[in-house]
Amino acid sequence: MTTSGRLAMLALADARFPGGGHVHSGGLEEATHRGVVTRPEELREFLFGRLHGTGELAAVFAAAATHSAAGGAGRQYWLRFDAELDARTPSPAQRDASRAQGRGTARAGRVAWPSSALDELLAATARPHHATVLGVLLGGSGNGTPRDAAAVAAYLALSGSASAAVRLLGLDPFAANAAVTELGPELDRVAERAADTVGDDPADLPAPSAPALDLLAEAHQRHHREEVRLFAS
């Protein structure tokens, strides 16, 4: 991995990256309202589900996007890629949350790592999915590998929810942080598996899912209309 690749990877995974991630809890806010997550042990369980549902899907598509961006994929490819990720994200609320973060990450990433690959993607869709943008930034001038992209995407699926748990429940931040880092070996395996699928046609990429997270995302949006939620997802 080149030096710039490592820095791009770290910057994209940093909670301070200004791509709009801090307003998304990944279903954690809804889970706290239902009393499903109240303690660090439950947060750990929740994060395990995040990693193998949303996280793994994001890892697969981020890795594939890195590979395709480096290979000079064009508009038609990105449209198909986008549709395939949509098809694997059954909750409209989650699709919207992913596109909102994709757009925010592209806005910030365009300044940090401009590339023709990113322009090509944004010409195909102005609001790409989050995982796609992460992959294209790293596959473009971010100089990262598919595995880096997969790891960043999987990590962000955890860190956002963990940070939301601290803000919503006042959880001990050390415990919340440890709940994330304990998943390290698990996250490595997810990233490795994701990197193994690059080069497959988008239609043939894996489709991991977590129906409970889909339902939480939908419930979150419904409740926001009634009693207001702090987070956008």
Partner: protein, 235 residues
């Protein structure tokens, strides 16, 4: 302490928080997009009341929109709609993930998205007022979001607030000391407040007002008109 420059001389840099200097950075904005003015300040100081007053006064002169960053509710947006100063579709509410200062300063994504949605619905909008969630004295708007910012404090918070300083009081383009009609009741010395404010802010303007006595906020509206006339500088 001195800051190095590449044009051959140094500028003094002062880290004394009581010494005010205008923000040294060029505001970033484009000629063809609306001017974005941020309204920040502590909880309950009168940001929404001022936003409503500005909508009332300037609404007839110019097309405007409002973005609210309420912490927990849609109170601010609801108030503006009920007050009848703005159509509901000219107001966008942002969810701040329990961190209102992050949403206006460190990561402005959600606010920029909200401004874009307003512009898409109303391509003619020329002024967007962004009200921050009620926050602390250090919460200021990023220059990437606000072309100019107003910091609103009130006399009820005590006459010590201006001399406490913080970036809101010292660097905002305009400091508004609100609710002066209450000064006597809360034992706030207006002379102290104003002289502290001027001492902390140097050349930067300060307006003391009461929205109860002057519900159309004429002085602040005049300041906004000046900003509009100066235009949104090209990015």
């Amino acid at each position: 302490m001195r800051a190095e420059h590449d044009h051959g001389h140094n500028h003094p840099v002062n880290f004394d928080p009581t010494v005010a200097e205008p923000d040294p950075f060029e505001p970033a904005s484009a000629g063809d997009r609306p001017l974005r003015i941020g309204l920040g300040g502590p909880v309950g100081s009168g940001k929404t009341a001022l936003t409503a007053a500005l909508c009332r006064t300037l609404g007839a002169e110019i097309e405007l929109g409002v973005v609210t960053n309420d912490i927990y509710t849609t109170e601010d947006a609801d108030f503006l709609i009920k007050a009848g100063v703005l159509d509901a579709d000219r107001i966008e509410a942002v969810q701040t993930g329990a961190c209102p200062h992050t949403a206006i300063r460190d990561d402005i994504t959600a606010n920029l998205d909200a401004v874009e949605r307003l512009q898409q619905r109303h391509p003619g909008v020329r002024l967007v007022l962004v009200e921050s969630g009620g926050d602390n004295l250090t919460a200021v708007f990023s220059r990437g979001l606000a072309d100019a910012q107003v910091f609103v404090v009130d006399v009820a918070g005590g006459d010590k607030v201006p001399r406490k300083g913080g970036p809101g009081v010292t660097t905002a383009d305009l400091l508004v000391i609100n609710k002066i009609d209450l000064a006597e009741r809360v034992g706030a010395d207006m002379e102290v407040m104003l002289s502290d404010a001027h001492r902390m802010r140097g050349e930067l303007p300060v307006i003391a007002q009461s929205l109860t006595d002057t519900p159309r906020a004429p002085e602040v509206a005049a300041w906004v008109r000046q900003r509009l006339a100066a235009g949104a500088p090209a990015r």
